[in-house]
Point group: C2
Chain length 259, copies 2
Amino acid sequence: VLAVPAGGFAPEIGALRARFGDRPLLLAGMIGSNRGWREAPYLDCPADGRAVAAGLLRIEEANAAIVPGVRDLTHGRADVMRGEEVQLIGAVAMGAVPADGRACHPGTHAKWARLEGGAIAAFKTVMTGELFALLKQHSILADQLQGGVAPDAAFRRGVGRALAARELAADLFAVRARKLAGQLADADAAAYTSGLLIGGDVAIGLDFLSQGGSIALIGASALTSLYAAALDEAGQRSHVVDGEEAFLAGIRAIAETMQ
Amino acid sequence: VLAVPAGGFAPEIGALRARFGDRPLLLAGMIGSNRGWREAPYLDCPADGRAVAAGLLRIEEANAAIVPGVRDLTHGRADVMRGEEVQLIGAVAMGAVPADGRACHPGTHAKWARLEGGAIAAFKTVMTGELFALLKQHSILADQLQGGVAPDAAFRRGVGRALAARELAADLFAVRARKLAGQLADADAAAYTSGLLIGGDVAIGLDFLSQGGSIALIGASALTSLYAAALDEAGQRSHVVDGEEAFLAGIRAIAETMQ
């Protein structure tokens, strides 16, 4: 959404129209945010496909509609999502997540969701990907974090540390101290630090989710494989659901409910 | 130390000599690091004033000595300090911290220290100040974090939240969600977020310190007042020790032991 300048959405829609013809448009994600085309107010949890379809922001003159985001204000919490609700609805429609299942969206702002009766009952966002990017680009650890990240032994060591102690801000400084003490090679530092962050994310997510079956990891493979390894370290089963497939299935389910 | 270019320390020392004459120089802090003038290897915990004096890196040709940093590798941990050890030795020498006391250095990399028999027995560093700066300068929260930070009600709310739940990376995203939900004014966001970070720091520090008397907050007033408020929220007493006074007292104590 940041790639489109203010006032630039109408021309972008026009370009889509020129390419695909005058079909109805169903849009979701940050295009419905206060930085997007039109602001589609959040629906409160619990929200299912029917509620989302009923809450669409219709833009009649453009033959378009925007999916509302979902907000979780239950139990004194405050959380928001835009776009992931479509994937969750789609994953349930595909049969990839049970109606009372558990899901995780790895990412810049990773999300853990509880489904109840096919509805998004509650969710929690963790700033994992953004924190890693900040540390890699701008922090005292930046020089150490330029290596690759894979679900290897160094990554699992970081996950194990994060699951054993809830003190991320101290463990991050120890990345530097362990280098100075000869305990952490530069080649392992990025994977270990990613393990600290994703392991901490998993610890938060598992506190939040109810007990249940395999956790659906909705997204693309590089990141879902890291979360799968971290969940495995925590003794939890998971399975991967392709994020694009889930999104398309969700958009189809919402469109069918509209008609 | 970053303000002095590579090879620039000898001229800097020369400038000090020109101004103050040929007195013995006793230096401490990052000047002894691998980015400094000469690298003074770390001493292991426990370390007292006598051990530090015995471990000085002597630079005879310059009539100078550099205080070694201190390293904590006890119990599988890894942590380092350079400069704070002089303040801790000084605070004990001044009578501002008991020989078996507890201390905290607020800062970019905040440190919690346990003293035993006047020696630095163990310590833990938390990346609190650096994380706040990263969030304020570069994160999705940056626009929200340009306000002032004081030990006010918003700050204490953040501290209370951090003491109640160990999930900083989720609470940080909620700063944005609470704004969108109309629960957090921009004017309060910096103080609330600082409270989350310092409250989380205090939770880590109190886990690490043994039970004991008032915690010495060693540093300058803007930051020590925030830590005092956070410790008060956690039901702990604290007292402020001026960081420059403690440093000078520590350097004097080490110099006396040298002679």
